[in-house]
Amino acid sequence: MSTARSDEAAFESLFKAEYARVVGIANRVLADPHEAEDVAQDVFVDFHRLHSATAQYAPAWLHRAAAHASLNRLRGARRRQKREVAQALEEGERILDPQKQLEVSEDRRHVREALARMAPKPAAALAMRASGLSYTEVAQALGVGTGQVGTLLRRAEATLRKEVTRGTSN
């Protein structure tokens, strides 16, 4: 019993430490905080069922799963419409100018479409780094050396830029 209790306590600590970061990664990919929370919930449910919260790899696993799960969701065309509506509503709270609101929403959609066309690893690296993870954390989540992260990000940035240009010129 005490083992089960300490395991629960460890999971709660892990949850408190990582939930906002996991939501942050998903939000960076989906640009929709509500959908990002759905992804984060699924990720933690999966983690808790299959892993011990005391595992050293726990944060890395959560970050990688958040990036992959949200990228998978981004690629699901069915969700697009719902996402755009939610995005517009969220944005409406801050930007009063409807024209400006439309432009921001449109730009964000182009960027997410470009992200969805990228290979999973560089796309995940960008999302993780943009959401504030350090090079070391990105490296651990992707299973690469810390020294490789800079190059990986450089290439990912170039690819995203190219994809955004391609998307807007079509």
């Binding site: 395991d7 709660e12 949850f15 408190k16 939930y19 906002a20 939501v23 942050g24 939000n27 960076r28 640009a31 905080p33 990002a36 929370e37 919930q41 933690f44 449910v45 999966d46 808790h48 069922r49 299959l50 892993h51 011990s52 595992a55 050293q56 790899y57 890395a60 799963a65 992959h68 799960a69 998978n72 944005e91 801050r94 960027v111 992200l115 290979a119 999973p120 690893k121 960008l126 999302a127 780094r129 943009a130 350090s134 090079y135 070391t136 490296a139 651990q140 299973g143 690469v144 050396g145 810390t146 020294g147 992260v149 800079g150 990000l153 450089r154 940035e157 170039a158 995203l160 830029r161």
Partner: protein
């Protein structure tokens, strides 16, 4: 995104301080990175962690599974094909050492956790003797199931129920077959001693009769089908380009040994330096090693759960993120595998509806 201390570390940082050309280039990178960061900018999500935690804990699916793997620190090594090859080698060795005396024919499967240290320790066993193919495997790709069946010694290619295929799966299917193959490993006391000396380790004493003992493993024939465009190059060479889905059926592997008993062999292998307590415990907990096919699960990369497939026990690997998963089971003398870059639940559904 170049504001991390690791973005300019050590000698690079010193060089950037003294080389205007590189400093300029670095500034361009930094400007680029900033513009990408602004492209990806979004309003921060406001979260209520307390409520979110309650929601996760009240989700029935979040209850811990029976088999969970805690353990080791994260590895910074990428998951390479070489690593996978090592896993395959370990699988053969594990099958080999499960050989009960003179004969091994599995009727069920069980997952055993292996650590990187286990893999290294077990890989060295390959240096303790010589392996020779008495019958080399012939691999053949075909465009239809009938040809694959013919090349695979008459085995019927399992038929996937279309309704169970996840949406978005490639419609390109390649069939394949492998002929029966047989390899014999001959233990050598001299080679083992030389390998140990080369690694600077001391070996446990080899049981009497082990020098010159042979272990013969037979695998296949096997047939299968692969969904996905196999010609498409991977844009990411540092990770495995998993096919979208692979379904395979193989005659269960068999093993026979001469001169040594299974107990001697098991004790000798488990006494190797570097074998983890977890692996020892998992192996020793298996009731009848002569009928159990061990699936080595690298604990840093994969998780496994016991599932029921086609009415028998099976092992499901991976999770529901869609990154990669698989199911393995043994039924009526055949080993079946369903695996790919799909969710574990989808793999189990495909497995259960295979004809």
């Amino acid at each position: 995104m170049v504001d991390d201390p690791d973005a300019r570390a050590g000698a690079d940082a010193a060089h950037l301080g003294s080389c205007p050309e590189c400093a300029d280039r670095f500034k361009t990178f930094a400007d680029d990175a900033r513009s990408i960061a602004s492209l990806l900018a979004v309003p921060e999500a406001r979260v209520d962690i307390g409520r979110a935690f309650e929601r996760v804990m009240s989700n029935r699916k979040s209850q811990p599974a029976l088999v969970r793997f805690p353990i080791l620190g994260p590895s910074t090594r990428p998951l390479t094909l070489g690593f996978v090859a090592t896993i395959a080698a370990v699988a053969v060795l594990l099958v080999a050492f499960a050989a009960a005396g003179l004969f091994f024919k599995p009727t069920t499967v069980k997952a055993v956790p292996v650590t990187v240290a286990d893999i290294q320790a077990l890989s060295q066993l390959g240096d303790y003797g010589t392996i020779t193919w008495t019958k080399e495997p012939q691999l053949q790709a075909t465009t239809n199931a009938a040809d694959a069946s013919q090349a695979g010694g008459g085995l019927t290619v399992p038929k996937v129920a279309d309704a169970t295929l996840p949406s978005g799966l490639s419609k390109t299917v390649t069939y394949g077959a492998m002929s029966n193959a047989e390899a014999t490993f001959t233990f050598s006391a001299d080679k083992a001693a030389a390998a140990a000396a080369a690694h600077g380790t001391t070996l446990p004493k080899m049981p009497a009769g082990m020098d010159g003992a042979t272990l013969t493993i037979s695998v296949g024939p096997a047939v299968g089908e692969i969904y996905g465009d196999l010609q498409k190059p991977s844009s990411d060479t540092s990770s495995i380009n998993l096919p979208q889905l692979i379904v395979a059926k193989s005659a269960a592997p068999t093993a026979k040994s001469t001169q040594v008993s299974v107990t001697d062999l098991e004790n000798y292998i488990l006494a190797q330096p570097g074998i983890s307590k977890e692996l020892k415990a998992a192996i020793q907990a298996i009731g009848d090693p002569s009928t159990t096919l061990l699936i080595p699960v690298p604990i840093e990369y994969a998780t496994s759960t016991q599932v029921t497939v086609q009415g028998v026990d099976g092992v499901a690997l991976g999770d529901n993120t869609g990154v990669g998963s698989g199911v393995v089971w043994v039924k009526d003398g055949y080993v079946y595998v369903v695996a790919g870059s799909i969710k574990r639940d989808d793999a189990v559904a495909i497995a259960n509806n295979l004809n």
